[in-house]
Amino acid sequence: MNTPGIKKGAVTEWVKEKRLFQFREANLLSIIAVLFILLSLTTPGFLTAENLKTTLIGLVLDGIVAVGMTLVLVAAGVDLSVGSVLALSSVLAGYLAYNDINIWLASLIAIVVSLLTGFVNGFFISRVGLNPLIMTLGMMSVARGVAYVITEGAPISITGMNPSFLYFGQGEILGIPTIVIILLILVILGDILLRKTVYLRQVYYVGSNEKAAKLSGIHVKNIHLMVYTVSAVLAGLAGLLSLARFSVATPTAGMGAELRAIAACVIGGASLTGGVGTIVGSLLGVVLVGLVNNALVLMDVSVYWQQLVTGLVLIIAVTWDVISHRKKEKRRLKADSNH
């Protein structure tokens, strides 16, 4: 621990906390396992390679977006622009490729533009002091707007283009879809980095107590800048994978992805007030939502229930979050008055 000013006590606190995180994930995992077994026994067509594979592929984009969203939420921020940045990246790469620019160069440009949107978000939030909700709401509209301007509303098709690019979205490695492997790598890598590296640990300190983090020598503004940039780059990457999977870029891609990602992160243990949450937890949240949606399709539950159930999951999760924080606050007030 060579970061200046991080106290020893904070480290031991983190070690204890880490154990709790793992416990919580184990909990969510066991619930998913129970649900899985339940569906396998009761729902014909659930436990087939085909169904599981499609369900997994279906949650990749939300999963990648949720990885970045976890970072932002842990830092006590929120990023509403991810769905739009996903669309912008996808449309931009598709547009450039359609106009005979090498697809890899086009992808690079799309990622750089995504990075810039995140940087602008982070800059205005950390340096100018705009509220994250408002700033990213604005960027959500701007990025979607640019996607509409580029395409004039019509989808861009790159069917039959560079097969090595399409491989990332459509190919398989040892029977596992490439796109799923990419998600797993991002989640495992991201989770380890966020847990183990001193630099990313700072996100937890900033999110749980910004003032103390500042006093202990953490460059809080740069941390904010970093989380929004990472979130946007991941959203941009999800956009490219969407392009590679469908060989088509639409300005409406990723609609509502930001809300699904926030819901999944909260279910996975992240808090809207910052300081808690893990990437693996968020992935489990995405998996749970994906399983619920798959179950609704398989069990012939009317489509009119789909929105309702997804909405209920979100509301219940956020309600739980708020109630738990209210209790936390009460205990704190009590503790404060004892001093």
Partner: protein
Amino acid sequence: MSSAIERKKKGDLKRIQTTEGVMVMKKSLIVAIAFMLSLSTLIGCAKESASDQETSAPYQGSKDEKYVMVTFLSGIEYWKNAFQGMEEAANNLGVKAVYKGADQYDINQQVTVLEQVIAQKPDGILVTCINPDALVAPINKAVDAGIPVITFDADAPDSKRYSFLATSNYDAGATAARELARLTKEKGKVGVVTVPGQLNHEERKKGFVETIQKEFPKMKVVSIQDGKSDQVQSAQATSAMIQKHPDLVGIFATEASTGVGVGTAIKEAGKVGKIHIISFDTDKGTLDMVKSGVIDATLAQGTWNMGYWGMHYLYNLKHDLIHPVNDWKTAKINPLPPFVDTGVNVVTKENVDHFYSNN
């Protein structure tokens, strides 16, 4: 924000305690979800237990046969009529029709639902395509696996689907032009409020504009505005259009919510009867405006027929009942009409009541 920081300042140890609290609650939340799911599993099982025995007549299927309709934006009223048609056909044939879809306008979600449906190996799929290219791969996968696929309303022309049932949008636009011309006695300035960039709307607009140009020399399309598929935006666009062209005599709205927006603006401007409106589709808002005379006529698409005949096509394919040649599979020909125009009907004050019952 700063008070939150103050609050957090002291709570290092307490945070660990309360994290446990959050965890417990989260656990019970997840248990609740699991419970809800298992409950609906039971309901789902109970529903499926009935089954009928097969008879020898070719148009008598079995209740075990399952045909699935897959849509996007699955909650909207528009698909309801199509599924009603499909359901009625399924009842007539003695098979089961199921409605599934993705609730948002998102390719990823529709493809995921479609793939999950294919994984269940139903007896046939009637699908409307959110995007012509993105659905090619899953549709082909289904057809290769022996599941007949018919598209309706929106097509994936490069796929192996057997047939496509939909409104010819260009012809619908032409019908709108002729209807508006009848109302305005074939003269005067008219406008269009549409959704630019969407193929079906572009075609309706084109059919309308070109028919006016070709068939009604005393009429002129003076303004084409973007209603953004939204009532409020369409009303704004319409108000601006009336300001600019006070002598306007008619407006064609290429979509339902656009039509309601146009109608509202005309009503607010006190120009009902002076500016005639032709709208599209038959959701309740539009029908109400037709009934009250704000909208002169709306074009009802043959969505019911898309579902009804789409279901029949699937059944015929599944049961191998069509033989335009001895063996169309080895001959590699399409046994079905590749495109069916399900047409439009003009809905006016006189017949509007009949369209309510369908919703």
